[in-house]
């Protein structure tokens, strides 16, 4: 297997050095660009979603090998459940960053998920999420497609969320009275202000909370010119310690849920899909070796799947290899790209702000490389 160090890795250092503070100036007349984050909770296995062509994978996972793969490049294949993703890839609207992760190596779901959303280094050390901070810095609005507000979207500004209900609410005068009981400036008061100022399209009563149906709602809101710029989905169930399966099985089913969301977003967004970026986020990958229960244990490096018109078709990796001395702690695919560089670049691209500005306001000016040009068509 010969996967070489991609050129952009060599290039980014200079871009970072050249970057100087640039203020939040948005190019006039640019079309609205949308950023969608799909959180895959439980530890999405990059080696199942986008398996490298490497014999070591076959011997490490004899019972859970993905066989009916779809071809991406001479070095990487795609899981058969990711049908929409494959169509997008062929249309030049999908890409992958592989052997990547957030800088967290301790294998706890809860610490890992907290850090993937906060973007920090100390579990539970931040009360805001990187996307919440990014939206604040760019003065934009986001929408979570879930009942609770994910940490990812939290910031000083309260963002909106959506989840269908069939129940009806009090009328506006009562809402104003109730809001009056909440202390000025409290999170409760801010949430209430969001409720009071909702667009009609978000007040329609509905019952379905199927992830794919929720994607339709997200698409409607994102497609509106004055709608939110960001949507966040939450998918769990990737923690496949048992019965992970290869072509079929638990991991494949979850990937297929993800695939259906991007399918619905593509259909629902219509032309706006060309100005959209859909990225996955997970807390870690899974160990190379299968365990005794035809599953895998918590690992480290994984893949980020990227879909949408703003994505360049490529697999970006500084591939570390699967020989035992190349594995992280002798067990896991290593991570050679800080996933936060991908997210910071995505925000810079979608929010029309300079990368360095975004990095300063969301990731404390840590030395993350600018991957905007390498990954996205902007």
């Amino acid at each position: 297997m010969t996967i070489t160090r991609r050129e952009f890795i060599a290039g980014v250092g200079s871009i970072t050095l050249l970057a100087s503070p640039v203020f939040n100036v948005r190019a006039a007349g640019l079309q609205k660009r949308n950023l969608v984050i799909i959180m895959l909770r439980g530890g999405m296995d990059g080696l199942t979603a986008v398996p490298p062509r490497d014999k070591r994978l076959n011997s490490a996972r004899p019972d859970i090998l993905v066989k009916k793969t779809q071809k991406l490049t001479s070095d990487f294949d795609l899981h058969p459940s990711l049908e929409t993703f494959h169509e997008l890839w062929k249309a030049g609207q999908a890409g992958v960053v592989h052997a990547t992760n957030i800088p967290y190596t301790k294998r706890s779901h809860f610490e890992g998920q907290n850090l993937m959303e906060s973007g920090g280094h100390v579990p539970y050390g931040e009360s805001t999420g990187w996307l919440g901070r990014g939206l604040e810095a760019a003065e934009l609005g986001g929408l979570a497609i879930s009942l609770p507000m994910p940490l990812l979207l939290r910031g000083k500004v309260v963002q909106d969320n959506f989840y269908p209900t069939h129940m009806s609410m009090p009328h506006k005068p009562e809402l104003m009275t109730i809001a009056g009981s909440y202390p000025e400036g409290s999170a409760l008061r801010k949430a209430m202000e969001k409720v009071i100022s909702r667009p009609k399209s978000m007040m329609q009563q509905s019952n379905s909370n199927d992830a794919a149906d929720l994607a339709d709602t997200a698409a409607t809101e994102l497609a509106r010119a004055d709608g939110p710029r960001v949507a966040v989905f939450d998918l769990d169930g990737f923690d496949t310690h048992a019965a992970q399966g290869g072509d079929d099985g638990a991991h494949g089913e979850k990937l297929s849920d993800y695939d259906e969301i991007i399918n619905r977003l593509r259909d629902g967004l219509g032309d706006a899909f060309d100005n959209t970026l859909i990225l996955t986020l997970t807390e870690f990958g899974r160990k190379l070796d299968q365990n005794g229960g035809y599953g895998t244990e918590h690992g480290y490096g994984t893949a980020i799947m990227m879909a949408g018109g703003l994505v360049k078709q490529a697999i970006h990796a500084d591939w570390p290899g699967l020989k035992s001395k190349e594995l992280f702690e002798g067990q896991d695919l290593n991570a050679t790209i800080d996933a936060r560089a991908v997210y910071c670049s995505a925000m810079a691209a979608c929010f029309d702000v300079d990368f360095a500005y975004m990095r300063k306001h969301t990731f404390w000016d840590e030395p993350l490389p600018d991957l905007t040009d390498a990954l996205f068509k902007v």
Binding site: R41, P62, D63, K106, R107, S108, H109, F110, E111, P123, S127, A144, S146, L147, P148, M149, L151, R154, V158, D160, N161, F162, Y163, T165, M167, S168, M169, P170, E174, L175, T177, I178, G180, S181, Y182, P183, A187, L188, A191, M192, K194, V195, R198, D236, D239, H241, A242, D289, Q290, N291, G292, G293, G295, E297, H298, E329
Partner: protein, 475 residues
């Protein structure tokens, strides 16, 4: 009088209920015995529910899928009938009715709040068909029954329960050097431990990451635990009791957090129980539990001053739960009126129902099921309602249970649910409900709340504005 205390540690005061004159003593007196469940209808045993579960999974996986493998429609129809026959759509609703009836009617609401707490601490996630059949019984039989003993006994019971062993995959764990492990490897198969349960036992149930354990500690504890499993059989699938299987156990002495575990007696089952003793005696364990208790009942960011009396009570009593609970209640009492906690949706709902005297849960008569048809809408009300509120207690998505941080319960949509439920409650409360009396019994700032409600003269307007008000959401 600190009337907010009744909501801080309980479900408030119901219409016509006399207000205890010594609230702290009233609360602490509830800690010494396990109250009987107040539900007057049928309470199925854990074994009976496991039989239903076994029937459901065996018939679905081994009979229907084969029989209808070429006809998806016929398979779906047959599976739907099987749901009714086994109670797959019913038992979760019954368990919720039993749980809510206890909260409202057992006579020991503070005990019930702590029951909710421990059920969430030793959380069983939404996996396989556990919420549909067995999680409620695990809360009743395993956790509730151990709440008047020591924390270590509660932990041993939870850790070795079928629910936890299955939920955290310990039956999939095979010591690589165990008898079965060696045999598997000789045949070219993989034999490794499953780290899931060992990791959560330390991280979530006992010492927390503050103890500084390493990946080596996690693996060593997985070795200690290997062999604690349930059989997987054709007829009952995963529904078989937990036992210790020496043939899957990793032999030898294992070191976890600097302590060694070796076999005493005829088999190695003692190693896990010995390890749990040490984990529960670890200083980071009592600190972690004190933090979680304070975070649930007092405020999001508990101080050392809040946690210290609980930690001391733990040290003096070797983790005796009634003693620890009473220390917590003393701290909650001391901080009533000083610190307020945002109430989670289920607790808030039960407080509303209790304080307004609404009919809830559905009656035992309503919850009588024939196992022939789809449960009626009124029989499915507990589940559909809690799903709408955003907290299904038998379905935490992850093993760390539901959060106790206010920010995790605060979003525009979650607020909309509180508003909608309050709005709907007007139609469910008595026309004679005395709002002034409700406010006098339950709030320390009664005058302020009465002034706030004064523009609203109907019970609809009053319910709709009182229940989502700041003072009701916080306690």
């Amino acid at each position: 009088m600190k009337r907010d205390f009744f909501r801080k540690v309980g479900f408030g005061i119901a219409p016509g209920e006399s207000v205890p004159t010594d609230p702290l003593a009233w609360a602490q007196a509830q800690m010494d015995t396990v109250p009987d469940l107040s539900w007057k209808g049928d309470i199925p045993t854990g074994e009976a529910l496991m039989d239903h579960y076994a029937h459901w999974v065996y018939t679905d996986r081994k009979v229907l899928r084969k029989k209808h493998k070429k006809d998806r429609k016929a398979y779906k129809a047959a599976k739907e009938q099987l749901r009714y026959k086994t109670g797959e759509r019913f038992f979760e609703n019954l368990e919720l009715a039993i749980r809510h009836d206890a909260a409202l009617n057992s006579g020991a609401p503070v005990f019930e709040r702590l029951w909710f707490f421990w059920a969430n601490h030793f959380a069983i996630t939404d996996k396989d068909f556990m919420p549909e059949f067995t999680t409620g019984a695990y809360h009743r039989d395993v956790l509730r029954q151990h709440m008047t003993g020591s924390f270590v006994d509660l932990t041993k019971a939870a850790t070795t329960s079928w629910a936890m062993i299955h939920n955290l995959d310990n039956s999939e764990s095979i010591g690589p050097n165990s008898e079965n492990g060696r045999r598997r490897r000789e045949r070219g198969k993989v034999a490794t431990v499953n780290e899931n349960h060992a990791r959560e036992l330390m991280e979530l149930h006992t010492v927390s990451p503050a103890a500084g354990y390493t990946q080596d500690d996690v693996i060593a504890l997985s070795y200690v635990m290997a062999g604690w499993e349930h059989k997987h059989t054709k007829k009952r699938q995963e529904c078989n009791p937990v036992h210790f299987n020496q043939r899957n156990h990793q032999p030898g002495t294992h070191t976890v957090l600097g302590k060694q575990y070796k076999q005493r007696g005829l088999n190695s089952s003692n190693k896990l129980l010995d390890a749990i003793e040490d984990l529960c005696a670890h200083p980071d364990c009592r600190r972690f539990i004190a933090l979680k208790l304070c975070r649930h009942f007092i405020c999001d960011q508990p101080t050392d001053a809040m946690m210290q009396p609980i930690i001391l009570a733990w040290e003096d009593s070797d983790g005796d739960l009634p003693t620890v609970h009473k220390a917590l209640l003393q701290v909650a009492w001391d901080y009533t009126g000083i610190e307020q906690k945002f109430q989670n949706p289920e607790v808030w709902f039960l407080q509303m129902v209790n304080m307004a005297g609404m009919a809830w849960p559905p009656s035992p008569k309503t919850m009588t099921y024939t196992f022939k048809n789809k449960p009626r809408r009124d029989q499915r009300k507990p589940e559909s309602m809690l799903r709408e509120l955003g907290l299904l207690p038998y379905r935490p998505p992850q093993p760390n249970g539901f959060s106790d941080m206010s920010s995790d319960w605060l979003s525009p949509e979650l607020l909309i649910r509180r508003l909608a439920f309050s709005s709907e409650s007007g139609t469910r409360i008595s026309a004679n409900l005395d709002f002034d009396a409700l406010i006098d019994s339950n709030f320390d700032n009664a005058d302020e709340i009465k002034a706030y409600l004064s523009p609203f003269t109907t019970r609809f307007g009053r319910a709709e504005t009182l229940f989502p008000s700041y003072w009701m959401l916080m306690a």
